[in-house]
């Protein structure tokens, strides 16, 4: 174990290339934007010509689909396009968009690998490299400077963001083909990647906030991408506003930290926390709480989780996926990045633990009854984020990042797989209208099974190891509260296994419940299935990054993150002593985890492999419970009733009663009293220069009078 936190690194010009990692996607975003507007211009010209020749856009739709190289699909191109509410059109110059964006991502990934290699060759205590700073805001008392800061934690994050990002971009090139906003979409994706990389690489808390708000913006834009529909735009607005609630809290945290440490450089904060615990425990608690409030917004924890399911039910699975795999994990990253701050307050950790466990459980139960395949995955994401925060609450920083990484693998896989299913089913998302798809889309099916197995925590897959490690750490805390949190975690694991295999059974097994005359399910093109295969391999074998102690193998990820997590871990150990589980206990927990995963996976699968009868039965027997669960415990409805409604009412009261009636009434009353003056003003305002001169003269006379009166 390291004896002390690494010193605050100084920037070096030798590492200025780190700036390229976020800069490349930013440049790509700008280029895609230009391409988009060029496309619009050429399309505008084309449209005029086409109308002149009597051809509508639909006449073109079928051609756009020939590129798929799939005859069956192409034949249905026209009605597929109509389903979108768009005519599919040739991409034109906008077709370069995905090339530009994907290329920037692969380049950023290569640079991330280079950074990783440099760090690996450095001695453990010195594994930090930093570019020179950019002096951003001089506040008058301290400067907010931003450097690119690569250490073990940010290197893991950049690898995940750029690696999975590159796969997503590749997949999206196939999925979005033929959309009128092809280049624009990739512009948003690249802008998202830029923001996310800024978030994980910035040395300053405010630099992190740039990325933090940036991903929020891109999420807003991506959710509302098919804005003509109306409701995606509303979901986007909701996401932005709920994120902003968290962001406001985040800002308060930065003010308090600036006051405490005189700097917002995160390395300085991390270095400063251990020395100020005794004198400033309340301030540290509050600062941590404010930042956690921000994390609740971004990482969709109760009470700010309701935006995520809406956001993911938007029409592009790709956007849903970047949320699941990267953006929403920003809160987890933030806590690990500032782990000593959170370790300093046991109360804060307990609050995080309770919020996390409740979120995991509520979202898990909600996922049980969803029919929309993407909603199952969305609530599952919320629930899994709860696990990550549960790990943080137990001081298991590395385990939380481990679950973040494996979750990125398998959730990305599941979202892309769901996208492939939806694509093949002509935009159908209701699992009750699917069934038996394994015959039609074998590649999607097999990879989806791998993702589902990992998510449900079946033994030896990636999700099994990471989830188990979090639960073991929670158990090891050994207090009644943490035993309770652990119990909730175990129950949620059972729920996870159940809803995951329900989803598999409903989608791929049983009878075909769609109208075979209208819908012809088909496998997606290779550009979409190849990323699925890569992710499937990662989901299955990703657990090797962090094998449990009892396996007598090194926990690669924990060792790698040690320089970052040591400070927080040491604070916890000094305050509460070390919590090590005996090997026997650990074996029991592993066995219990395996047993629960297998039992509930089987139950979930068997209950639904025959069809939707069980759902319909439940709905008929206890409709109120089904509705309650289906609506995520009606929390969102309650918000509408008790927060949105009163806010709207208050706005109305302020505008009509206070402003128009009371304040303006008073003003108009005064005006009426001085009607004589008003009449003259009216004349003046009619534009007569003479009256104006008269008025100016009157003012001068008044001035003169005042002078004379005084002397």
């Amino acid at each position: 174990m390291l004896q002390q936190a690494p010193p605050i690194p100084t920037g070096s010009q030798a590492y200025d290339w780190l700036w390229l990692i976020p800069a490349l996607p930013l440049a790509a975003a700008a280029l895609c934007g230009i391409l988009h507007f060029l496309t619009l211009r050429s399309r505008g010209a084309w449209k005029k010509k086409a109308t002149a020749h009597g051809h509508g856009e639909h006449g073109h739709a079928g051609h756009g689909h020939d590129d798929h190289g799939d005859a069956g699909h192409a034949a249905h191109g026209a009605d597929h396009g109509a389903d979108h509410g768009h005519a599919k059109v040739a991409a034109g110059i906008g077709g370069l968009g995905p090339w530009v964006a994907a290329l920037s991502m692969y380049a950023a990934f290569a640079l991330s690998l280079k950074g990783f290699a440099i760090l690996r060759d450095l001695p453990e205590a010195a594994r930090v490299i930093r570019s020179t700073s950019w002096s951003w805001i001089d506040t008058g008392t301290f400067g907010i400077d931003i450097a690119m800061h690569l250490d073990p934690l940010s290197s893991v994050m950049t690898l995940v963001v750029t690696g999975i990002g590159a796969l997503i971009f590749t997949y999206a090139a196939g999925y979005m083909k033929g959309d009128p906003g092809y280049a624009k979409f990739f512009g948003y994706l690249a802008l998202f990647a830029f923001s996310m990389l800024m978030l994980v690489l910035s040395s300053s808390l405010i630099g992190l906030f740039v990325g933090w708000e940036g991903v929020g913006l891109c999420s807003y834009l991506l959710i509302g991408f098919w804005y003509e529909k109306g409701w995606p735009a509303e979901a986007g607005q909701k996401a932005f506003v709920m994120n902003r609630i968290g962001d406001a809290s985040f800002l308060l945290g930065t003010f308090l930290l600036a006051q405490l440490f005189g700097s917002l450089d995160m390395a300085a904060i991390v270095a400063g926390v251990p020395g100020s615990i005794s004198a400033h425990s309340t301030e540290l608690f509050l600062a941590g709480l404010f930042l956690f409030g921000g994390a609740c917004g971004k990482s969709a924890q109760i009470p700010l989780f309701t935006w995520l399911p809406d956001a993911m039910a938007g029409r592009t699975p790709v956007s849903a996926l970047i949320h699941a795999a990267t953006m929403v994990t920003a809160g987890v990253y933030l806590v690990v990045r500032l782990n000593p701050l959170f370790a300093a307050s046991p109360t804060l950790l307990a609050i995080i633990g309770i919020v996390a466990a409740v979120t995991a459980f509520v979202a898990g139960t909600t996922a049980l009854v969803q029919r929309d395949i993407k909603k199952v995955l969305a609530y599952s994401t919320v629930s899994q984020l709860g696990y990550m925060f549960l790990g943080l609450a137990s001081g298991a920083w590395a385990a939380a990042i481990f679950h973040l990484v494996t979750h990125a693998f398998f959730k990305a896989l599941l979202f892309l797989g769901a996208g492939s299913v939806i694509h093949g089913m002509h935009e159908e998302q209701d699992m009750h209208k699917m069934g038996g798809l394994k015959r039609h889309m074998p590649a999607t099916f097999l990879t989806f099974i791998a993702g589902a197995a990992a998510l449900s925590g079946l033994p030896l897959l990636s999700g099994f190891f990471s989830k188990d490690e979090i639960l073991a750490h929670t158990f090891a805390q050994g207090t009644p509260l943490y035993y309770a949190l652990w119990a909730v975690g175990i129950v949620t694991a059972a729920l996870t296994a159940f809803y995951t295999w329900r989803m598999v059974a409903l989608t791929f097994f049983g009878k075909e419940r769609f109208d075979a005359a209208k819908v012809h399910p088909h496998e997606s093109p290779a550009v979409m299935t190849l990323p699925l295969m890569v992710l499937a391999v990662l989901s299955v074998f990703g657990g090797a990054l962090g094998l449990p102690v009892v396996f007598n193998a090194p926990h690669l990820l924990a060792e790698w993150l040690e320089p970052v997590t040591a400070s927080g871990t040491r604070i916890l150990h000094e305050a509460h002593g070390e919590h090590e589980l005996s090997h026997a206990t650990e074996w029991v927990l592993l066995g219990l985890g395996s047993l629960i995963a297998i039992v509930f996976a089987v139950r979930g699968f068997r209950a639904y492999v025959g069809g939707t009868a069980r759902d319909l039965d439940r709905e008929a027997k206890s409709p109120r419970l089904a509705a309650f669960l289906g609506d995520a415990w009606t929390i969102d409805t309650k918000y509408t009733t008790f927060i949105v409604g009163p806010v709207k009412l208050l706005a109305f009261v302020i505008a009509v009663v206070v402003d128009a009636f009371a304040i303006d009434g008073l003003v108009n009353g005064v005006a009426a009293m001085t009607r004589g003056i008003g009449g003259r003003v009216r004349k003046m305002a009619d534009g007569s220069i003479a009256t104006y001169g008269l008025w100016m003269g009157a003012v001068t006379a008044l001035m003169a009078f005042l002078f004379l009166w005084k002397h």
């Binding site: 507007f37 619009l40 002096s135 951003w136 805001i137 001089d138 506040t139 008058g140 008392t141 405010i206 906030f209 740039v210 708000e213 940036g214 913006l217 807003y220 509302g224 804005y227 003509e228 529909k229 109306g230 735009a233 509303e234 607005q237 932005f240 506003v241 902003r244 609630i245 962001d247 406001a248 800002l251 308060l252 930065t254 003010f255 308090l256 006051q259 709207k648 208050l650 706005a651 302020i654 505008a655 009509v656 402003d659 304040i663 003003v667 005006a671 003003v681 009216r682 003046m684 305002a685 534009g687 104006y692 100016m696 008044l702 001035m703 005042l706 002078f707 004379l708 005084k710 002397h711």
Partner: protein, 516 residues
């Protein structure tokens, strides 16, 4: 270019020269009038920019100063024609100069009647505004203050919308009330101090007893608070904005309101630091109330122009809050936010004007789906909204962050309430954006709207560039305010220590009495 040629006098009176030239043209020669106005404002922008770039922000000293004796008041006080630039005025002078040609270009689209008169008023107003920011003689300041307001009465009253008379009279009554109170206080101050030189007055007034300062502060602050406007003196603003032609709204939001916040800083805080210190909690409270109140007001609006006007009440609440936090960060943020608000809200009004010229309605429910018909318009509108809600990387964030940080240093509770404005701002602006741009095209009239033309895009580009520049490299702007703001802060600190000293003296004094 040597600054001894491009003096402040040239800057201030260039627009007036343009106005005189336009007055000499035949009234039918609309093209010529527009041309002269554009050339004059471009020249102003050029000179203004050069002077701002030449300005050295490391010192509080007045730069490019020009003085000439003017007349002597009865009582023997000499009034001077005295211009000069310092860190408090430099950014606002830059803003006023740059907005000139943009506003003139925007009138191509909506001013078709009495163009000659309009251009004259516009240019006279610019002279007035530049004069307000640059004059360092209190009498001269007052003259320019009135000069900049009168043209707006006419612009509002002649070229305004349906309820223009109501809006004009309301605007007139409010401002006259404020101006008169300020005039009386100014004259009293000048006589008492025996000088009208602002820089001398700042020294003299700062040494006055706090009770005297408070009366004078109250009189000045009232005039400026109406101008800002600070809630509850704000109700003239939504009416004025709604009825004003686009160019009038842009100037009003962009520069005229800043005369109020500028005045609060120079003639409120810098001149009467003792009084400002006492009034600070109240003024901060008014600022926070303005932020929240304006946001709720904006949420309830169905008229998009009125909504933006109400958002100004909220945004300027931030400026007032930051000013009276009396901290370095707060003052820097407020000064920058004055410019930011001018840019982002100016951009919003320009855009609303452009769509109004096409569709002739301001009702939000008459729009919807505009993004698919006018993609360039949508791009610029979303940009303006993001700048306005303070997205990091654009200008608004820097100002807002500094203001909130400065407020936190003075009062964490008020900062915690003010930070909700970050949420509410997103609520009403994104709501308006969604209703205008997104969803299906419901009204068939909207289907045939033409997208922005080259002139419209071109005139907005400088604003867009500035928004990005300030957002990415704010220090280039903040540095220019540094010297003067440090001077203001040191005056406040002196007043603060004087206050604590006097509090300490009391018990000693009492002890002596008791001893006797």
């Amino acid at each position: 270019m040597p600054t001894n040629v491009l003096t402040l006098t040239v800057l201030v009176f260039l627009p007036l020269v343009g106005a005189l030239l336009i007055a000499a043209t035949p009234s039918k020669a609309v093209g010529l009038q527009r041309g002269i106005a554009l050339v004059a404002t471009l020249a102003v922008a050029w000179v203004g920019m050069l002077l701002c770039l030449d300005f050295d922000g490391s010192t509080a000293a007045v730069q490019f100063g020009q003085t000439a004796p003017w007349f002597t008041l009865p009582g023997g006080v000499d009034v001077h024609y005295r211009l000069g630039m310092d860190g408090i005025s430099v950014l606002l002078v830059g803003l006023t100069s740059i907005l000139g040609p943009i506003v003139v270009l925007s009138t191509w689209g909506h001013i078709h009647e009495r163009v000659k008169e309009f251009m004259i008023w516009l240019l006279v107003m610019q002279t007035g505004m530049l004069g307000v920011f640059l004059s360092l003689d209190l009498i001269l300041f007052y003259v320019f203050w009135e000069t900049s307001l009168i043209p707006l009465y006419f612009i509002l009253g002649i070229w305004g919308g349906e309820r223009r008379l109501y809006a004009t009279i309301k605007f007139f009554l409010y401002t006259v009330a404020g101006s008169l109170v300020m005039l009386i206080a100014a004259i009293w101050l000048i006589w008492t101090a025996g000088t009208a030189d602002v820089m001398k007055l700042i020294d003299v007034a700062g040494a006055m007893p706090v009770d005297t300062q408070l009366w004078l502060f109250a009189a000045f602050a009232l005039a400026f608070a109406i101008k800002v406007p600070v809630m509850p003196f704000h109700t003239w603003l939504p009416d004025a904005h709604t009825e004003a032609p686009t160019s009038g709204s842009v100037i009003l939001a962009g520069v005229l309101l800043k005369m109020g916040t500028y005045g609060l800083l120079r003639f409120g805080i810098a001149m009467f630091p003792g009084a400002a210190l006492q009034a600070a909690p109240w003024m901060m409270a008014l600022g926070v109330i303005g932020i929240v109140y304006g946001a709720f007001l904006a949420m309830a609006q169905t008229d998009v122009k009125r909504l933006i006007a109400c958002s100004s009440v909220s945004h300027l609440g931030y400026v007032v809050l930051g000013l009276f936090a009396l901290t370095e960060a707060g003052l820097r943020g407020s000064l920058l936010q004055m410019v930011n608000h001018g840019l982002s809200t100016g951009l919003l009004f320009l855009l609303i004007g452009m769509i109004y010229e096409r569709r002739h309605t301001r009702a939000l429910d008459q729009y919807g789906g505009i993004a698919s018909v006018m993609p360039f318009f949508a791009l610029f509108l979303v940009f303006a909204v993001l700048s306005s809600v303070g997205l990091p990387g654009l200008n608004g964030f820097v100002g807002e962050y500094l203001i909130l940080l400065g407020t936190w240093q003075a009062s964490p509770w008020l900062a915690a309430i003010a930070v909700t404005g970050v949420i509410f701002g997103a609520v009403y602006l994104l709501m308006a954006t969604r209703k205008m741009l997104f969803g299906p095209v419901v009204h068939s009239e909207n289907r045939s709207l033409s997208d922005l033309n080259g002139r419209e895009i071109g005139l907005m580009l400088p604003i867009v560039a500035l928004c990005v520049w300030i957002g990415v490299q704010p220090n280039a702007f903040l540095d220019r305010t540094d010297g003067s703001l440090r001077d203001v802060v040191s005056r406040i600190e002196r007043a603060r220590s004087a206050r604590t000293a006097s509090v300490e003296i009391v018990p000693v004094h009492r002890l002596e009495i008791e001893a006797r």
